[in-house]
C-alpha cells in the first residue's frame, strides 16, 4: 500500500490491519512487514480478532506505505469455528453502513427464503440473488457508499456487494461479518461476507457468487468495512492524498487432502 500526499505532513499516527491471522481455514507463516517511514510502535489484537499494528511518525514526510509478505496455507477447512450464538450478537445488528432502506427491504421481499432451513442455505440464496441482480462496476460508488445507496444505484464493487449482503442477512437475523482479504492473482484487496451457522463462520463471496474456498486469504473481519480499514491514520497537514494498493497472490503448491 502506498499513500502519496500532495504536501508534507507531520504528527502522523496510524493503525494498520494488514496482516492476515491464523484461522481454522488458513495458516500464516514467514510474515515480513515493513512500514515506511519506519515507525512501528506497537501491535495488538482488536476486539474482532484482527492483528493491528500502530505507529507514529513525528517528522515531515510526503508519502507513507507498507509492504507485507508471507506465506499462507489455505483451504485447511471449509469453515471457521465460531463462538455460540449469544456471543456473536454484535454481528446480528445493522450498522450505519448496512442499515436497510427501501431498496434493501424491497429486495428482501422479492426473494423468499422459505425453502431454506439453515442460515447457511439462506446466506447462499441471498448471495446468489445478489450476484445475479447487482452489477459489478467500478466508479459508481465510493468508499463511503452505504449498502442502501449502492443497491439503489444498481452497481458497485466488492465492498458494496458485501455491505448489501450483510444488510440482507441481518434482516433475517443471521449474524454475519464483513471480511477484507485477498484472492488468488494480482489486483486489489477483496471483500466478502461470513455468515454464522451453528457455531461455524462460512464465507460467501457475493461479488463472484462463490462460497469461499482455498483461493481466498482473509486479512480481517468486523461488523462492516469500518472495522476492517487496512490503513487508518491522522496527521497534521493540508493535503490531498492518493492511495494505491496492490495485491499479488501466487500459488506455490497445492495441498491435497482427502
Amino acid at each position: 500500500m502506498k499513500l502519496l500526499f500532495s504536501n508534507e505532513v507531520k504528527e502522523h499516527r496510524f493503525s494498520l490491519k494488514c496482516i492476515p491471522h491464523d484461522t481454522d481455514m488458513q495458516k500464516i507463516e514467514n510474515i515480513d512487514v515493513s512500514v515506511f517511514p519506519d515507525n512501528i510502535t506497537g501491535k495488538d489484537i482488536d476486539s474482532h480478532g484482527n492483528i493491528t499494528i500502530f505507529g507514529y511518525t513525528k517528522e515531515l514526510h510526503d508519502s507513507f506505505g507498507f509492504d507485507v509478505e508471507g506465506t499462507a496455507s489455505t483451504g485447511l477447512k471449509d469453515f471457521e469455528s465460531a463462538k455460540e450464538l449469544h456471543m456473536v450478537g454484535m454481528y446480528k445488528y445493522q450498522t450505519k453502513i448496512t442499515a436497510p432502506g427501501e431498496s434493501v427491504l424491497d429486495f428482501s421481499k422479492k426473494h423468499s427464503l422459505e425453502s431454506c432451513s439453515s442460515n447457511e442455505e439462506k446466506a447462499l440464496l441471498i448471495m446468489q440473488n445478489l450476484n445475479n441482480e447487482f452489477e459489478y462496476r467500478q466508479g459508481c460508488t465510493d468508499m463511503d457508499t452505504k449498502a442502501e445507496e449502492a443497491l439503489k444505484g444498481g452497481c458497485g464493487v466488492c465492498q458494496d456487494f458485501a455491505h448489501i449482503m450483510l444488510s440482507l442477512c441481518r434482516l433475517e437475523s443471521i449474524p454475519c461479518r464483513y471480511v477484507t482479504g485477498m484472492m488468488i492473482g494480482e489486483g486489489r484487496s477483496h471483500a466478502w461476507v461470513e455468515a454464522w451457522d451453528d457455531n461455524r463462520w462460512i464465507g460467501f463471496d457475493p461479488t463472484n457468487g462463490k462460497v469461499v474456498n482455498d483461493e481466498y486469504i482473509k486479512i480481517s473481519n468486523g461488523r462492516d468495512f469500518r472495522d476492517c480499514l487496512v490503513n487508518q491514520g491522522i496527521f497534521t497537514g493540508n493535503v490531498t492524498q492518493s492511495q494505491t494498493i496492490s495485491v499479488i497472490v501466487n500459488e506455490e503448491q497445492n495441498l491435497i487432502h482427502d
Binding site: 499516527r13 493503525s15 510502535t41 506497537g42 495488538d44 482488536d46 476486539s47 474482532h48 493491528t52 500502530f54 507514529y56 455460540e84 449469544h86 456471543m87 450478537g89 454484535m90 446480528k92 445488528y93 461488523r223 472495522d227 487508518q232 491522522i234
Partner: protein, 452 residues
C-alpha cells in the same frame, strides 16, 4: 422523613431563621469562586451560576444507612453486568436481558469487547439519581455511569457555608462531606497502572469545567487537556511545560467515549488522544470511567437493573426502580396505551432531562403522533408511573416555597463500593415542573446526612 425545620426549629418569620442571613453571602462566594456551569444555546456558549438554596436537604442516619446499602448493591450489580456484557454474556444467554437492548442501543461499544480494565473496575464513579415519594419510599430514577458530574458543588458549598455561617452547624451532628476528594483519590490510585494521575478536560468551554479544575485541585491530580498527553511505545505520557515526559497511569477523563481516541472512535475528534484506547486495552493505563459503560445506564437497560441484582448477586433489590414499563413487551405496551395519561414517557437515547414527556400534558395531536412513534419503535421508549415526589422548601425573596427535588448520590468503586455521605440535591425552580436538571435551569442544595 426529616427536614431542616425539624432539626433547627421552625420560626414564624423567615428572617428569624438561621439560614436567612447566610444565603446571599454564600451565593456571592460561589460566584467569586467561579462555580458555574456552561450551556450551549443557539450555538452560543453561556456560563450560568448554579443557583444555590441555603435550606439543606436532611437525611437521617438510619435512612442513609438504608440508601447506602441499596446503592452499593446496585453499583456492584451494574459493574458485574458491564463485565459480563463485554465478556461471557451469560445474562444474554440466560435470556434475562434481550440482546437487542444491548446491541441496538448506542451505549454498547464493540471496541470494548474482551477488555478487562485495571482491577476489573468499570464504573469507578457512579451518579445514581433518586427521588423520595411523599410516602417516604425512595426510588431510583436513573443510573449515570459514564461521566456523572455534580460532586464538586456540594463539596465547595459546605466549605463556604462553614466559613460564612458557622453557627448553622453548631451543635448539629452532620457527616462531613469534604472527604470526597480523598475518596476520589483513593479510587483513582487503586486502578492506577503506574505513573501520574490526571484529570482530562475538554477545556474551559465544557459545561462542567469548574468541576474539572476543582477536583484536580482537591485531589492533587494534574488537570490536562488532550494535547498535553501523548502515547508513545505503548504507554501514556504527560508533557509538561518544559517538554519533559512523565508517565501517566490513570486518566479521570471528563470527555465522552466518542471523543476519547480518534483512532478507535470518532476520527474527527481533536480533543482526544490518538492510540490511548489501544494501550488501555493492553492494561497500560486506567481510564476512569471505563469506555463502554453506556451499555448499562441507558434508560432501556434501567428496567433490567433489579433483575441484574437478583441474577448476579442472588439478592432482592434493596432500592426500588420507579414502576417502569417496556413497550417492547406486548403486555406493557397495552398497559401504556391504556394508562397513557398517567405516565411519563422517556426516550432511551436522550439524557439531561431532554426527551421526557408527560402523557397528560400532550395535546390530542401530539398524543396521536407520539403513539404512532411508540408503535413504530417500541424499544426506543420506556414509560413510568409519575412519582409524586417530595417538595423541599426553598427560600425565595424572603418566602419559603415548596419545590420538587431529587438527589444524585455518588458511589465510588475501589476494593469495594463506597457511598459519599452527601450528594447533590437538585431542585426545580419552576413550581409546576418535575425536571430538576441544571441544564434546564434547576438549582442545588447542600445535603446533610446526620451522623446520629
Amino acid at each position: 422523613m426529616i427536614s431542616y425545620m425539624d432539626i433547627c426549629g421552625k420560626r414564624d418569620r423567615v428572617e428569624d431563621m438561621e439560614i436567612y442571613t447566610g444565603a446571599d453571602v454564600v451565593n456571592e462566594q460561589l460566584a467569586r469562586y467561579g462555580v458555574k456551569f456552561g450551556i450551549y444555546k443557539n450555538n452560543e456558549f453561556k456560563e450560568q451560576l448554579f443557583p444555590f438554596d441555603m435550606i439543606p436537604r436532611v437525611i437521617d442516619n438510619k435512612e442513609f444507612a438504608y440508601l447506602e446499602k441499596g446503592l452499593k448493591q446496585r453499583v456492584k450489580a451494574l459493574n458485574l453486568f458491564i463485565a459480563d456484557i463485554y465478556g461471557e454474556k451469560k445474562i444474554i444467554k440466560d435470556k434475562i436481558v434481550p440482546e437487542e437492548f444491548i446491541y441496538a442501543g448506542s451505549g454498547y461499544l464493540p471496541q470494548c469487547e474482551g477488555i478487562v480494565p485495571s482491577k476489573g473496575v468499570y464504573s469507578h464513579i457512579s451518579g445514581i439519581d433518586l427521588v423520595q415519594s411523599k410516602d417516604g419510599t425512595w426510588y431510583i430514577l436513573e443510573d449515570n455511569l459514564r461521566i456523572p458530574s455534580g460532586a464538586s458543588y456540594p463539596m465547595i458549598v459546605r466549605g463556604i457555608e462553614r466559613r460564612s455561617a458557622p453557627s448553622l452547624f453548631t451543635g448539629k451532628h452532620i457527616e462531613d462531606n469534604r472527604n470526597y476528594a480523598d475518596m476520589l483519590r483513593h479510587t483513582m490510585d487503586y486502578v492506577n497502572c503506574g505513573g501520574h494521575t490526571v484529570i482530562l478536560t475538554p477545556g474551559r468551554y465544557n459545561a462542567a469545567y469548574f468541576e474539572h479544575s476543582y477536583l484536580a485541585e482537591k485531589t492533587g491530580a494534574h488537570l490536562v487537556s488532550g494535547h498535553e498527553l501523548i502515547v508513545e511505545n505503548d504507554h501514556l505520557y504527560f508533557i509538561d511545560y518544559s517538554g519533559r515526559k512523565e508517565r501517566v497511569g490513570a486518566v479521570y477523563r471528563r470527555i465522552s467515549d466518542e471523543y476519547l481516541d480518534p483512532m478507535s472512535f470518532n476520527e474527527e475528534s481533536v480533543i482526544g488522544i490518538p492510540h490511548i484506547f489501544d494501550i488501555y486495552r493492553k492494561g497500560n493505563v486506567a481510564l476512569i470511567n471505563a469506555p463502554g459503560n453506556g451499555v448499562a445506564d441507558d434508560k432501556g437497560i434501567y428496567y433490567f437493573v433489579p433483575k441484574m441484582i437478583k441474577y448476579y448477586l442472588g439478592e432482592e433489590p434493596i432500592l426500588n426502580n420507579a414502576p417502569t414499563y417496556l413497550p417492547y413487551y406486548d403486555e406493557d405496551m397495552k398497559y401504556v396505551l391504556d394508562n397513557f395519561d398517567n405516565l411519563v414517557l422517556k426516550d432511551v437515547a436522550e439524557a439531561g432531562g431532554y426527551g421526557v414527556v408527560f402523557g397528560n400534558k400532550m395535546s390530542k395531536e401530539e398524543k396521536e403522533k407520539f403513539i404512532a412513534m411508540l408503535k413504530a419503535e417500541p424499544r426506543r421508549f420506556i414509560a413510568q408511573e409519575v412519582i409524586d415526589f417530595i417538595d423541599i422548601d426553598i427560600m425565595e425573596k424572603g418566602q419559603l416555597l415548596p419545590r420538587k427535588a431529587d438527589l444524585r448520590a455518588f458511589v465510588l468503586m475501589a476494593e469495594e463500593p463506597m457511598v459519599w455521605k452527601s450528594g447533590l440535591t437538585r431542585f426545580s425552580r419552576n413550581p409546576d415542573s418535575f425536571i430538576v436538571n441544571s441544564s434546564q435551569g434547576g438549582g442545588f442544595k447542600d445535603t446533610w446526612v446526620l451522623s446520629q
